[in-house]
Symmetry: C2
Subunit: 368 residues, 2 copies
């Protein structure tokens, strides 16, 4: 099987305004063309668009807007992990030999139809994701003594990182006290425990081994892939103190990459809420089950750098764009282009992308 | 690269009623489980759903409904060729080694948001696909002397075939006179020149070479794949007497399969309108450019059997299901399960699936 590498990325500022879905998407595509300056439209033989927006034929429309005539073009949706699904699709097309150069574009507007889980009748009137986050938080506090302060530390770190990321929606640091005193949403979840829907797009370019040198001398290889869907509705989520989808996806990704969790230097984890990052520390194997809260206290001295772009809490959560933006961050870090937030001494990166109360998860490892 | 085969299929009756998208989709999945009786939920490691419907998280929801916990699950949309995009995605995942057994489910309700081309502002008020079909028809008549009677023959054949297909939306034969006297839509396109949106679903099971014997002793191999997007808007369609997307997709599919057009025994072509089938005869290489009309007159003596299930005109066009239903027909024929319409002496089959005035096309060849 031939290997696949990311050659470059494109990003937009995450924001809320009146720009159309197509404007936002094309901003990130233009940025990618600027970043990978040897890339021409004729090189691109797949355009995969990740979005939960209802717009039809988006991949073909965006291709036309850029004068690309790809072999493969379609839209991919699986709620919040649409972006990582699109990346893995692009990987597969290239690995299977159906194309050489694939552009993955993730895009969303803040008013995305996926912001509420309207389809899940098992949630009764509790359609907003904050409800399940509250149950996960409470269960972890009860079982392992995790505190609201430890949860708040996730938000403090991610908002601090976001302040060093010009693309991030939030640009201001917050303190533990700010988080604890922020607006109560669903006890114990407060406003600053939550990510915010916003407008944004991210693109990455995946290229077959044989051609990657045409576009970059800093390829970032896709080394491991794991995915798992456990269920869709919240009534079928049996465990509130772990994310089985993540545990299984991580197991497969590490096995494929032949690495262990301790070897991960850069991790973009799916902090839709602070509790998700605590659970991710544990379920990705960075710490033992139950130790996530304490890990949050000492994360500055950990060997893994988590959510350097600010995560979903700091950078914002344009749903279909998130998984692609996570991958773009790992590529940016591994190409030494991350500016103030640049990580040193890295070899392995990871993205972790969830949907709908962790009913499904993606883990992708990347390396140099 | 390991080979990929279709092991079986599932279908619904194409109809219009109040059944939900999930009911319709699950009917075809249940039919697939019945047809491939050694298949259990635990075997399935990818569920890809093709639909233009706005429903979110469909692949995960359908997985849950059937007790499947797949690695890969997402929804795919690219208008009318969504189905073939999903099939090629499943092929890629298997060929790339990320999964072994993939279920592809295509489903649509008649009121699909993709039935009109609302996004194409270059069409002015002429959003209904019948407008471009009229222009294609007129251009072919002017350039090559194709007649309304020849166009009508496509409808007559496909409605005749549909009458032998219990799943087809239309069950009554029509005569050339019926077609010519049917309701004028956009000159020269009449009602019986058109396919009809309807409700319906189709599923196919794709399996890696190493495991296909577990499920069938009649594997139907995916032998060739070609896809091309030329543009999205009608203003960028430069040629009205040929479908460049189809020509390029067919070239790639034949090259990959190492076969020539003359070797195709069974072809499911995208007859959204009668003119599309005439163009397909030419652009898939069954006859020379311009001879499509005459080919329609003598098709009963041709070596290729075209649209044995009735095509989109006879079977109906549940948009996201169509590409999958085309593949299901080829598999059904090659497994000798097509009843009254069973073809004899076959080796190579083909599906041809278009979107939006042939701005994009898919060609997949399959063989035994």
């Amino acid at each position: 099987m031939r290997r696949v590498a990311a050659a470059g990325y494109g990003l937009t500022k995450f924001r809320k305004n009146d720009d159309s879905l197509y404007s936002v998407a094309s901003e990130s595509m233009r940025d990618l063309f600027n970043n990978v300056n040897k890339l021409s439209q004729n090189d691109i033989d797949a355009v995969l668009v990740s979005t939960c927006d209802n717009a039809q034929y988006t991949a073909s429309i965006l291709s036309e807007m850029f004068g690309i005539k790809p072999k493969i073009a379609h839209r991919i949706e699986n709620m919040c992990n649409s972006g990582s699904n699109a990346i893995i699709s692009a990987y597969s097309y290239i690995a299977a030999g159906l194309c050489d150069v694939a552009m993955v574009v993730g895009v969303e507007k803040a008013n995305s139809p996926s912001a509420k889980l309207e389809w899940d009748l098992t949630r009764g009137p509790f359609k907003h994701p904050a409800h399940w986050a509250a149950m996960f938080s409470k269960a972890h506090m009860d079982e392992y003594g995790t505190t609201e302060e430890q949860l708040a530390l996730v938000s403090v770190k991610n908002r601090k990182n976001a302040a060093m990321n010009p693309s991030a929606y939030f640009q201001k640091k917050v303190s533990v006290d700010d988080v604890l005193k922020s607006k109560p949403i669903v006890k114990p979840v407060k406003l600053y425990d939550c990510s915010a829907p916003c407008d944004g797009a991210a693109s990455i370019l995946l290229v077959a081994e044989e051609r990657v040198k045409e576009f970059t001398d800093q390829p970032v290889w896709v080394t491991g892939i794991g995915q798992r869907t456990m269920c869709a509705s919240f009534s079928n989520v049996k465990e509130l103190t772990r994310m089985d989808s993540t545990i299984l996806a991580a197991r497969d990704a590490y096995a494929m990459a032949k690495i262990k969790p301790i070897m991960i230097d850069i991790a973009e984890v799916h902090d839709a809420f602070t509790i998700c990052e605590i659970l991710a520390y544990e379920d990705l194997g960075f710490v033992e089950k139950g130790h996530g809260g304490r890990f949050a206290e000492s994360i500055d001295s950990a060997s893994v750098n988590v959510n350097t772009r600010g995560g979903l809490i700091g950078a914002g959560h344009p749903i279909g764009a998130t998984g692609v933006a996570q991958a773009a961050e790992v590529v940016m870090q591994m190409q030494n282009k991350a500016g103030k937030r640049q990580v040193k001494n890295y070899k392995n990166g990871l993205i972790h992308n969830l949907s709908a109360a962790a009913t499904s998860a993606t883990v992708v490892t990347m390396g140099v």
